[in-house]
Symmetry: D3
Subunit: 304 residues, 6 copies
Amino acid sequence: MPRSGGIASMMRLPVQENTDGLDVCFVGVPLDSGASNRSGTRLGPRQIRQESCIIRAANHTLGAVPFEDVQVADVGDVSMNIYNLPEAVKQIKAAYDKLISNGCVPLTMGGDHTITYPILQAIKDKHGPVGLIHVDAHADINDVMLGAPIAHGTPFRRAVEYGCLDCSRVIQIGLRGSIYSLDDYQWALDQGFRVVTSKECWHKSLEPLMAEVRGMMGQGPVYISFDIDALDPSYAPGTGTPEIGGLTIYQALEILHGSAGLNIVGADVVEVSPPYDMAGTTALTAANLLFEMLSILPGVKRRQ
Amino acid sequence: MPRSGGIASMMRLPVQENTDGLDVCFVGVPLDSGASNRSGTRLGPRQIRQESCIIRAANHTLGAVPFEDVQVADVGDVSMNIYNLPEAVKQIKAAYDKLISNGCVPLTMGGDHTITYPILQAIKDKHGPVGLIHVDAHADINDVMLGAPIAHGTPFRRAVEYGCLDCSRVIQIGLRGSIYSLDDYQWALDQGFRVVTSKECWHKSLEPLMAEVRGMMGQGPVYISFDIDALDPSYAPGTGTPEIGGLTIYQALEILHGSAGLNIVGADVVEVSPPYDMAGTTALTAANLLFEMLSILPGVKRRQ
Amino acid sequence: MPRSGGIASMMRLPVQENTDGLDVCFVGVPLDSGASNRSGTRLGPRQIRQESCIIRAANHTLGAVPFEDVQVADVGDVSMNIYNLPEAVKQIKAAYDKLISNGCVPLTMGGDHTITYPILQAIKDKHGPVGLIHVDAHADINDVMLGAPIAHGTPFRRAVEYGCLDCSRVIQIGLRGSIYSLDDYQWALDQGFRVVTSKECWHKSLEPLMAEVRGMMGQGPVYISFDIDALDPSYAPGTGTPEIGGLTIYQALEILHGSAGLNIVGADVVEVSPPYDMAGTTALTAANLLFEMLSILPGVKRRQ
Amino acid sequence: MPRSGGIASMMRLPVQENTDGLDVCFVGVPLDSGASNRSGTRLGPRQIRQESCIIRAANHTLGAVPFEDVQVADVGDVSMNIYNLPEAVKQIKAAYDKLISNGCVPLTMGGDHTITYPILQAIKDKHGPVGLIHVDAHADINDVMLGAPIAHGTPFRRAVEYGCLDCSRVIQIGLRGSIYSLDDYQWALDQGFRVVTSKECWHKSLEPLMAEVRGMMGQGPVYISFDIDALDPSYAPGTGTPEIGGLTIYQALEILHGSAGLNIVGADVVEVSPPYDMAGTTALTAANLLFEMLSILPGVKRRQ
Amino acid sequence: MPRSGGIASMMRLPVQENTDGLDVCFVGVPLDSGASNRSGTRLGPRQIRQESCIIRAANHTLGAVPFEDVQVADVGDVSMNIYNLPEAVKQIKAAYDKLISNGCVPLTMGGDHTITYPILQAIKDKHGPVGLIHVDAHADINDVMLGAPIAHGTPFRRAVEYGCLDCSRVIQIGLRGSIYSLDDYQWALDQGFRVVTSKECWHKSLEPLMAEVRGMMGQGPVYISFDIDALDPSYAPGTGTPEIGGLTIYQALEILHGSAGLNIVGADVVEVSPPYDMAGTTALTAANLLFEMLSILPGVKRRQ
Amino acid sequence: MPRSGGIASMMRLPVQENTDGLDVCFVGVPLDSGASNRSGTRLGPRQIRQESCIIRAANHTLGAVPFEDVQVADVGDVSMNIYNLPEAVKQIKAAYDKLISNGCVPLTMGGDHTITYPILQAIKDKHGPVGLIHVDAHADINDVMLGAPIAHGTPFRRAVEYGCLDCSRVIQIGLRGSIYSLDDYQWALDQGFRVVTSKECWHKSLEPLMAEVRGMMGQGPVYISFDIDALDPSYAPGTGTPEIGGLTIYQALEILHGSAGLNIVGADVVEVSPPYDMAGTTALTAANLLFEMLSILPGVKRRQ
């Protein structure tokens, strides 16, 4: 089948309705009701699937052929009431409770960052508090946005409150941009998060940082949440709240390669907004990051 | 000042915070949380303002020079909680209560069609039930969408329930597209609405229809709600739920020209979604429709 | 499920690998190797599926609820060697032989117009020579293009040679544009085709023409081939060889509505080129035309 | 040669530096310094050439094969100082003086409408005052714009002052849009121009109008100036000052077809702005209108 | 107010007509008449304002909260005759004379680079000759372009002639691209400018360079002129004369951060061309660079 | 002539039909029939020419003024049957046999990478086996694609089979992306190719690598094939098979600068796909890379 043909499932994988028999699932959450600036991420999962059709079987850098080692399928998107964020959050939580009940690792396509809160709730209920590698331009730890406690700038505050995170094993990488107040990152530091601004990463390989991260995470369960706006807008124009001076794609890949060996129990790539992604490269990037995530999961062998 | 210069207020009008001293105001409601398909209308008001900068003073067709006859300004956008639709609806209602308390006629830039419900509430509280000229591809009379009573497909059902409409003076023009069930329009007919599908308009001038409408509306208060997707997508690609086979721009202008002389107490143009409006022509169309609406308001003279 | 969510199958229908148990199938042929000007139609099926997600269940104009009357699914795309047109044509023919062996009616998403030749071959082998309603800007009856007998400008010449067509029941509607030689349409006339140029349609309803067409087609088997460039570029910019002065969308719908009652054994919409369809309206139009085609198939009842 | 290949000369014609031996020349004037709203027409000639590569040899509607009857080539673009409009106007005039000194008919690709003034000067100096068929959304008869006498809104006022026009044989078709003052068109009427607003054309064939125009023009020399914004933005989004409610493409073609037989001494299509013409259809339209203009020139035979 | 709402003033600041009471003003100059390649910068100020709506109050890197330390507003755009560059230059000069008469620091949104000449004239008349940090792909020191002394490639030659610059305190950073002649940069060197080509910056932090620059500038008045095309096109596609191999955004930020402490009397970001900035990231970058400029102005404290 | 004006020949050079009297020619091969994912490269040559109009005479980095030292012209595009890849390959070979018969160095604008096979055949027949600097994301050494031996993923396997390459002098730089199997690069290594993945290049100058390459290539004839997708998508979004994590533009320029002094007998830039290159920066990049290639050819002097 030509790559431009066929039903656009994630990486042209089989589609199934639940996670029976799966080690790993790709799942979408087509939500943008939590966005504060430009919208459009509701179309993220569909566009990531479309661009993912070029993904092939083997990961040369990691020496991995993930589809040979783990059972993986596309389980479609979570259905929810996009007109009511608190209700949507509950519906997402319930959907993930079911998806991961058998230990299946969810690799999520967003959707705005609101969705990571209910995902982490489900992860916590299954696995207990997790370590978190949070790659993002924004800390997303606001208490409220326009008066609302649920929005795309609040998930990690809510997640802490719910007990989702092992705060001593949380790192935020790539923070930058104008902020509301000079102490915007203070709450994170107060929880014990490690905060690495984008500027600390300029002109550098992140391999040393990732060595540190591996030490920090140990063998406890880890979740990776990758907001595509962590990348500089030159790499990811198709997002709602781009901030200049971001991570390079090389650093993004180093973060994921450097996470190999960790006990990853879930991961997401969020905030891809197709209407601002004219050439499709942002969705393509997301699809590839998800392939890297798949390639580093427990159970996927390093063959070279 | 070159037309490409200056702060982009609506039609380059003065900006003021309230409607003191105004006969007419332009006001935006930057909401897209009520959209069911593609989002982006939250940027509608800003884009309409931008394209409106080409609007000049005189309306040749109508022989009108509205800025000479009525006091009009841009009062900016309504502030609201975009993360909570029911609350946003209340905030919009409250904002309009204030804007129209002195009888000022609001000309609204949407935003998705959800916003017409709270606007009509405020209009009703000020003027009593109104006649309605509703130009749209969709009837927007659903009871719920994805379980939610407030969304962009329900405003006119909610408006009837609130008593906003004089149902014998309601006409819906331009309806079309695939529908959920063959009796989708039945509820409207049951209320006494006049329903004119787009197909009834093909290849025709709407001047005869508008003569009928003027008779139907009489001298009672009238509100005009113009969903830009009433137009065929060839005229208005920049919208979230386009439907083929729509009204022509000539028919749209005939509808507005044919409404001259009515006792119009408010009007809106909604559902402009800038991310899908690459050349800006949809926003330009909205800006011009709003200029036509301004030109037919009570108090604006026919000078030729 | 929000309309922006879920795997993008055609009209969100179930996907199955073959036509077992189906009355009708949607099938894609993601080919652009036969294009002469701009390419990109290889992505047509995927984009049409994406935009089709807004299609709802009922067809108000026709009083039809097709999914209630016929079994229909999305059978995915035809696999073929896109690097070898003659071989691809054979592969498409073989695929359709199988798809329609049980009488299933194929509704095809192109792909460039080359594909209609092998589809018609399969149709002929199943049903015998068919009547043809060919809606297009171009006659597509060249003998060769750049020396090649198989390309998107030759399918109907090849189809006649193969005996696919009952030439007394062939009509071409919408022809226009600059042509190679003043007698370009002569070969069609010589076969007995009825040729209706776009100019003959200007400013007119096509309902009278369709009455004539229904008489011409009688109750014999009929195939409808709709090249999206039949439409004026204002309605369908996303195509490879647009020609100005084309059919309106109203006329296109009249052609399909006017074909209701015919013994349609297959139909296609071809030449949608997503890279030139920035706002998605061309693919949306194709999706809707396919919904109209579905709604007029034998077995679908007129309920109103 | 595939149509997507080869140096993009106009209609893939030979390129030569002057008009020696030519009956007709295509020539570009890549200027946008005279634009008042959005710029970009400086790239118009290049884009029109690019899209013109699909134009074939024969004009079916007119029964014409122009390249067989007249010698025609692409003479490239006029060189000028784009930083100094008055000087540019002089340079354009001088260039056209030379181009048409042998009676060659110039078919011009704009460029903003400023350029028609110096072209008409050269035409006048060669042929005396001419009749004018001016198709446009705007009258372009301002005295000054932002204080400048030379700009894209003033060419026809300047042309009258220079004596270029036989004012009793001037018609302006398609005028519309908001205007500065209700008497904006009065100056044109005062000169004796026939003014036909776009609204007078709605829902109508323009064949009757063109019969009248042919009578009005007689056998005297005629110039056709076609501003692409005469067309409704649905047909021509790629322009700097679009106005809704414009001519249809069918009417545009009727105007040109209806001009066949006139003593045309020059013609232009102006105001194509490629940055706003994402799918290239505006430039394609311009290329086709220029092909129609070529097809109606004196010396081109009606073969059918 | 949601960030997508409200009148798009620069950084959502108050708008006022003059600089009374202001320490700093944002001001636009919507000109593109001086462009040599692609146009469109006339829309730069409007687009920068639009994207600036995401800018928040605090600058984490610099520990600055500029709106607390200096009075700043948006004073709109300079009005000028865009059809006459020399006259426009005079009008800009006059406007800036007024804007800065009270010592207000102008932060300018271009517009093409022509505008920096009259701005520097006004700056010189107020402050005497200034040091200049000129970040650009092009030296912009041509004597004439197409015969014109005023254009976007000549401002710094003109500025030297007018005595605007303290030539021993001028640095040009980022120069590159094909040039007219191998000695194109010689005139700059002859004046005593420091010239740093982009290639000298590859793979490097510019912090060492900026230490040198701070030494070079001392405490005399300094102007910063930042042509967005200094950045590599990957960061800033939306400009008229992009050149490959440019500065990274990290280097751009280092230049501005490294200018903190200088006696900056004015700054600009020019050459943003919205029609080539599909995802808005170039305008967003400009808005952020202007926020950095604001954050380093004298009077803005380092709070961390 | 303004840069936006004139016939768009490569770098505004004269156009001639053959290579008589030329040392170097620019030539296009407008093919995309060999593409596996997104198409559109058939328009590459035309778009590269268009964007090349900004290229000026001198190369500052290299101290070269190539047009003074070598005779160079644009010889247009190769004509071929785009519907039959094997035949097209033969036609390209024949065309290049002729173009280079007099020793003229061809600088090719693609077109998809299929074209390098026949070019190398012609090069081999003229010059014998050559060294190859192959810059690409993909090794392009597949045996077949979808069953076809001729496609854009096979040229270098075919070239080896034909004896085009001196395999000890072949280097592939920039390889990356998901691959079919972990031993995808093994065939290349088996031939003796030097393989440098993109990851080996991250965060590094490639000057050391190029020193090595110069040693490897010696003074034997060398061909450079530059697939634009070697660059990271941030630099080159306009291509059919983008892969994240690619070379930077700085590295690309270092590769070409570092090839100065080699005995280059031909070079190409392929896989530019204009429909995905909204702002034109990919084509601009290709045009500049071709200017760098021209500047390093034997016979072009280093003047500084």
